[in-house]
């Protein structure tokens, strides 16, 4: 018998003709954004840069951009881990607390603890990794929602950090060079880039590569799309989730080290806004809070948008509250766009 499906037939009914009508401009935009969710934040970033540089030409100068990169680096780094977790339809509220906890352990071991710098850094990173593993364990084995798990560990890590450090600030002068290394400035022409910024860029490239080019990355997306479907095709969902939380913890541990170099101290009061800022960067960057869609490149653009607004508005002499205001608007617009493009039809 004939086996091939008939080629596309001429539309015969009114409904079929209707289905073949030309797409409206809005539908075409919807399709483009569906295929490339990072496109809308990229447009926002470009428009913001153009507007801010018109208002104040200093905005595009290498010195200003160097400051922008240094300011954005820490939140961008934390947002990488946050992206991984949000891609699995989770959320991490403990990101700031865990980073500060790792940082305080790293710094006190290296200063009053007398542990050699590189070893203290390694232990600090391992503490971050273990914290991520704990989050992942609670999510996968005890089956608790990520929101609740990380809300709990937020307080736990915060308290543990304060108890361990006694609430005191450790200055960079009390720390070995290796612990402060991420603040080292490298001159690229008129750009002043810190080693920390370069490490963040490398982290973004490595995780972006793993997400888009490896089996593990594909499984992260599959779990975020539909965990039950992923299980049915043989993906070990809990193992993927555990790896995501653990890798996020590892990234936070590395960021703890970068934060010491950036701030010139290890303070228990650092990164108090890191939770919301990292989630904001992820969401503005086009990653869906419902999981399964998004990319690291979007998150990097999202983080840049938040800090470009901050710097641009302050250069324009506008009250800083307008930056907060604009961030709020961007978050709502970003999620609205996400809702819209998820309704895309063939």
């Amino acid at each position: 018998m004939s086996t091939t499906t008939a080629p596309a037939q001429q539309p015969s009914t009114a409904a079929e003709q209707f289905a073949l009508r030309r797409q409206s401009p809005a539908q075409r935009i919807q399709h483009v954004l569906h295929a490339q969710p990072a496109l809308s934040p990229l447009l926002v970033l470009i428009v913001a840069i153009v507007v801010f540089s018109l208002v104040n030409p200093r905005f595009l100068q290498p010195q200003t951009l160097s400051i922008l990169f240094q300011q954005v680096a820490i939140i961008a780094a934390l947002a990488i881990g946050q992206t991984l977790i949000i891609l699995t339809a989770g959320i991490d509220l403990s990101v700031g607390a865990l980073t500060v906890f790792s940082m305080l352990i790293m710094a006190s071991l290296a200063s009053s603890g007398g542990v050699p710098g590189p070893l203290a850094i390694l232990i600090g990173i391992l503490v971050g990794t273990a914290g991520g593993l704990l989050n992942g364990y609670l999510v996968t084995r005890i089956n608790l929602p990520p929101f609740i798990v990380t809300l709990g560990t937020l307080s736990i890590f915060l308290a543990a950090g304060l108890l361990y450090s006694g609430g005191s600030n450790i200055q960079s002068t009390a720390l070995p060079d290796s612990v402060n290394w991420a603040g080292t400035v490298i001159q690229f022409g008129r750009f002043r880039i810190t080693t920390g910024v370069i490490i963040v860029a490398l982290m973004a490239i490595a995780v972006g590569f793993a997400l888009s080019q490896t089996k593990w990355g594909r499984h992260v997306y599959a779990v975020g799309n539909d965990a039950e479907a992923a299980r049915l095709v043989g993906i070990r969902v809990n193992r993927v989730l555990l790896s995501v939380y653990t890798v996020a913890g590892l990234l936070y541990g590395v960021t703890a080290w970068l934060q010491i170099g950036r701030a010139g101290s290890a303070s228990p009061n650092a990164l108090t806004e890191a939770n919301l800022e990292s989630i904001t960067a992820v969401v503005i960057g086009g990653t869906s809070l419902f999981g399964g869609r998004g990319a690291i490149i979007g998150t990097m653009i999202g983080a840049l948008i938040v800090y470009a607004f901050r710097l641009g508005l302050s250069l324009a002499g506008v009250d800083d509250q307008w930056r907060v205001f604009a961030t709020g608007v961007l978050v709502i617009v970003a999620v609205a766009i996400d809702q819209w493009i998820r309704k895309v039809k063939s």
Partner: protein, 282 residues
């Protein structure tokens, strides 16, 4: 007792003596899959009451039955999704036991679930190879663990073309942008591509319109033409009578009989299914 069995017995289908099948004496070495005396209870509820099932090479075996007749339980017990309390499973004459769906997949059985088990935001080729991704050859694959996206896309396109699926052309299209029938086609193509023993389809046409149903039925016949037997679970009598070689009628956790579209009419099948008629055995 009324009977719908015809005088001449069942004859043969694909060289299989159906009279022998009716008497439950099929030799497991002649079948692709044989289940013997499967029992599964859920507390006091009896899911399977000592069911036998035989799947022969190159056939489409439909399993029909009322809600709660034990169709799904039977198929789950055969594909590792449920562990039967007792009974035996044979594949190609060898006794097997599956503890997980992955065991059954490993043995060459592919199941298309009603939910389809696809990741909506991922594209067609990613879904075809989900859980079985191919890596690039050489250092890029072994050291950098890079996916062979092009290879998977080409292979996905080839399997879709082999199955005569012309409605889907772009393997880079996200599955969520496809119609219900196209999604079903992707899930069925995935199963057909990776199954080495047989394919199980759970209500593949339940959510589809007439035209798309026709396409999926065509696809099922394509799979048989490739030499893979198919187990088709369906409520839809016209569909079953259109494509099935034999029809296993599940009833009250047991089997009310195995008929063929030639030996019985759909009305008789419904009568057996609902218990209005009983099929005389042996």
């Amino acid at each position: 007792m009324s009977t719908t069995q015809n005088e001449a017995g069942y004859g043969t289908v694909n060289g299989v003596d159906l009279d022998a099948v009716q008497q439950g004496v099929a030799d497991p070495s002649t079948t692709v899959l044989s289940a013997r005396k499967l029992i599964k209870t859920f507390g006091k509820v009896i899911g399977l009451d000592g069911v036998d099932l035989d799947l022969y090479p190159g056939e489409i075996l439909a399993i029909i039955g009322d809600n709660g007749a034990g169709k799904s339980t039977l198929i789950k017990a055969c594909t590792g999704a449920l562990a039967p309390d007792s009974g035996q499973l044979y594949m190609d004459g060898q006794e097997v036991s599956f503890k997980t769906p992955q065991d059954a997949r490993g043995a060459g059985i592919e199941t298309v679930y009603q939910t389809l088990a696809v990741a909506p935001a991922l594209d067609i080729s990613a879904n075809m190879f989900l859980g079985r991704e191919m890596r690039r050859p050489g250092v890029l694959g072994s050291v950098f663990r890079m996916l062979d996206k092009k290879g998977m896309k080409d292979a996905a396109g080839k399997s879709m073309a082999n199955l005569g699926i012309a409605t889907v052309q772009n393997m880079g299209q996200a599955v969520e942008t496809l119609s219900g029938g196209q999604r079903q086609a992707v899930a069925v193509a995935r199963a057909a591509t990776f199954a080495s023993k047989f394919v199980v389809l759970d209500e593949p046409t339940a959510a589809l319109g007439v035209k798309e149903t026709g396409q999926v039925l065509n696809l099922i016949q394509q799979i048989r033409a490739k030499g893979l037997p198919v187990i088709l679970i369906s409520h839809n009598m016209p569909n079953v009578f259109e494509v099935a070689d034999r029809i296993h009628i599940a009833r009250l956790g047991g089997c009310a009989g195995v008929i063929t579209p030639k030996s019985h009419t759909p009305t008789e099948a419904v009568a057996i299914m609902t218990g209005a008629t009983t099929l005389q055995r042996g």
